[in-house]
Symmetry: D2
Subunit: 157 residues, 4 copies
Amino acid sequence: MTADLDLDLDLDFAPIAKRIRESVGRQGFMAHIGAELSELARGSCTLAVDRRPELLQQHGLFHGGVTAFLVDNATTIAAATSRGQPALTAEYKLNLLSPAAGDRLICRARVIKPGRQVAVVAADVFCLMDGIEKHTATALASIAMLEKVPEKISSPA
Amino acid sequence: MTADLDLDLDLDFAPIAKRIRESVGRQGFMAHIGAELSELARGSCTLAVDRRPELLQQHGLFHGGVTAFLVDNATTIAAATSRGQPALTAEYKLNLLSPAAGDRLICRARVIKPGRQVAVVAADVFCLMDGIEKHTATALASIAMLEKVPEKISSPA
Amino acid sequence: MTADLDLDLDLDFAPIAKRIRESVGRQGFMAHIGAELSELARGSCTLAVDRRPELLQQHGLFHGGVTAFLVDNATTIAAATSRGQPALTAEYKLNLLSPAAGDRLICRARVIKPGRQVAVVAADVFCLMDGIEKHTATALASIAMLEKVPEKISSPA
Amino acid sequence: MTADLDLDLDLDFAPIAKRIRESVGRQGFMAHIGAELSELARGSCTLAVDRRPELLQQHGLFHGGVTAFLVDNATTIAAATSRGQPALTAEYKLNLLSPAAGDRLICRARVIKPGRQVAVVAADVFCLMDGIEKHTATALASIAMLEKVPEKISSPA
């Protein structure tokens, strides 16, 4: 791909990325978790969160719910990058592979199939231990691609 | 089943329920979400959480990550009730059915198959709107049943 | 619901049921398996197949692939009944609960959420042993609802 | 890894591979589908099947049930290679990505996590069209690893 094409894609993607960042910035739960949107590109998204006591379960590991939140959000955001359409999680499956120990949890999502009606997105979650990433979870999600934000969810109570 | 047998089961279950409640009480993330363990019985568990701004997404609905947390925790707890064995989420699949609006999110999990190695648990999530429960998500989970808490997760950093 | 409304629904459903039965009748794989469409109604579908040596695995049980075929087909057919729209499996998750022994395998699918874009359908599979049904598998599927059969799949080679 | 170690692994793996091939050879359903075990190695397995009318659905594509069968079998076989333990499908999730057209369906499964109790296995299915492989499905499976074949499934009726 030439630099010119890259530039064009960047120009197209910039307003989409801006809109997504603003939208994610309005998620109260994202702030409550303390997660950050650390990478955003066409077809992919990385979310990460640092270890804090209030994110853990009874054995001092990241709670599975934190992993699930990262997967839910990162897959939907990755889907939204592909065409700039609003995207809603339809479903996902999450396999926990190993204890989520360590100092930081990182979720990388990538679009496998950018469908117009349903996008399929994979995600892998890693925990950072002594500078080394360990694979802690893997997920597969179906994201409903919307024409526009439906009335019933665009007017919050 | 006779009343005597019921009583015996109750006697057996009391220490299991106590241990589960203590264990859940040590989850920092449970407190951070503000969820409560509202029902606990052999083979089932109900978790619930009231609406607060920090649990919402950008359209004022409960964030999908809150739903996922309830499913993750309720299915594992339900599995743990069946034999008193420690239980670890192996995987689950979650379908979001409708926008999670309303004042309260309620997740009911019930064991479908109480396996010794893997238990299968279903969960349904409802949101309470004007006193009426609306079905907002459904899930199917596989929970690994442990002989005892493995060393590597029983000694938190 | 009054008898008149029921009648109207029956009148509406008859041509949908006819179209579905014809479509399923053209599935070479359905005949190869020897499965039958034993029940069809608004929002539900039952498929069944009798035990034959060529449907088994190495231990004499129904092969998991037969269970998966029944789930795949029954969930899509159930979704197609709800509005008469063509339906395509987007994804499903299948949990095997117990060995699929016995003389007959029966899969019952029911629509949980009849969405216009994505329908959510649950299915349970039972094996008939000495006249008793045993729960052998449970599944949760997302079915893409199409406006019409897309060009690329309506013209078979 | 040195050549010596490779050799040792080959020596260890040969009897496992032999046992797996014999076991798969006794699956009536494998023969009924006409699938072949085209590759087998530590942690991976490839199954493939050529197009035949009796494997198709009403639009002339491979039936989703054929894809599901390949996924079910390939993921379990891949898990069985890792330690030579018998393996039973616990559950899987399958996303269909594009119409399964073409002359041949190929399913490649690889172990992601070779657990002692539960192995996690990913699978991708491709259809061969004019010599080019197209990605038609992706799946994620949990496979129960057994100590030995349980009594109840080792004595077929």
